[in-house]
Symmetry: C2
Subunit: 232 residues, 2 copies
DNA sequence: TGATTGACTCGTACGGCGTACGATTAAATT
DNA sequence: AATTTAATCGTACGCCGTACGAGTCAATCA
């Protein structure tokens, strides 16, 4: 009845299925494995975006038939789940500066989180739709522990975590999707300038032209942390 | 060469295309129009979610053939654009309490924004992928004007606006997608409890089981506003 | 009036998608 | 040597967005 694999772990017994007799197709591809599938899916997503990931194309890159993938994963959704979580691993703050203040630690982890997602711009918009993988949970655990240790009241802890989650998620999704080309940017300016009688304030502050995303993230995060845990 | 319609405006000349001779099919559907297409698309999205919107199904609901839709819209993407913007109109604070404090005004608009998106849970995840429509820009303009009037420094204005945007977007997307069934919720608890040695803190605070989304939004927003514009 | 045009509708068809199903093969086990 | 298991893949099905072109009316023009 062909019970599929589902969890982790893969043997990886060396085997070759190239050509039965004539050595015409000596593609020396390694055998399929979950790891290889996920890594290749990430590459493909990076190169072609969410809509570019098709099972057939993924199989092409792996040098296998499309249906072979289904031995290792249940369906395409699972490929997304695994690709997403694989990209969100956190290695912790640099070992050198071991025990910084809690604020430094939170900021470091959240900036790393954002950076990881921006390195793979498809990941941010995928995050909210998928189950929480172990790497995501680890980050939340670290955040929770750090804030708790910093004196955030238990009653406020969940609010604080979700607020930071919301901020990071919103910032990253927005950044990843608003990465306009110069043409788009010019068009937006044009459009807004033409309508400046309707939107004078955001036109004046050049809201849509400001592209110091990193600075805005950092400053906004500081404001939020100020609100969550007033200094001293 | 059949130049398609693209912008707004639609004539809507009364006409009937029912059956040429035999009155067997006297479906008295009104004729197609952009408005009707968009309204029906919103209904369909509400009922079936993002993946449930298919051109054929939309046409079915409209009592028309699938290809007829393409006279009124360029492609499916445009249906999404129009449905999204149609759902984000803001009518302003209740007229009775005309001039509240700035904080009340900001909170009201942002809670309304979130509520509008939660009434149509597909809209939140669509928002970041689409161009800013007039209804969105109006909300940003109002936000900008209010904060500016409240004394937020010009240098901090964009950061403040984007921070609030990020917060609302993240909160709403998360809420809309985390709306687990009780079964899912039980499964998540099970899973987390089983792994509680790995994630003790978030397990203890019941982060994933906390159900008070509205309260968390309101409290988190308060914290953020505290950070952005320290009271007095 | 009859012919023409333009607005609108829709049947058919095409290429591409995810994946069910079953045949096939090679390795491991008995 | 016989059997079981792990893995691969060709074929096919149903569904999708939509290109294309033929139809149907109402309004306009000759």
């Amino acid at each position: 009845m062909a019970a599929k694999r589902s969890g982790a772990g893969s043997k990886g017994s060396g085997r070759r299925g190239a050509s039965p007799q004539s050595g015409q197709e000596q593609r020396s591809e390694p055998p399929l494995s979950l790891e290889r599938i996920v890594a290749t899916a990430v590459d493909l997503l990076d190169a072609e975006g969410v809509d570019g990931l098709k099972m057939r194309r993924l199989a092409d890159r792996l040098g296998s038939g499309a249906m072979s993938l289904y031995w290792h994963v249940g369906n395409k959704e699972e490929v997304f789940d695994l690709a997403l979580d694989s990209v969100l691993e956190y290695r912790g703050p640099s070992d050198i500066v071991e025990s910084r203040d809690w604020r430094g630690e939170v900021v470091h982890m959240l900036e790393d989180w954002r950076a990881s997602m921006l390195r793979h711009p498809w990941s941010a918009s995928l995050l909210p739709r998928r189950a929480l993988g172990p790497n995501i949970l680890s980050r939340l655990e670290l955040l929770s522990k750090t804030l708790s240790g910093a004196g955030v009241a238990d009653a406020d802890l969940n609010v604080a975590i979700w607020s930071l989650w919301n901020f990071v998620l919103g910032a990253t999704i927005t950044r990843a999707n608003f990465d306009l080309s110069d043409d788009d940017r010019a068009a937006a300016q044009q459009r807004l300038t033409g309508l400046s009688q309707h939107y004078p304030t955001i036109e004046r502050s050049r809201l849509l032209l400001d592209n110091d995303w990193d600075g805005a993230f950092r400053k906004g995060l500081d404001f939020l942390l100020d609100g969550l845990a007033p200094r001293q």
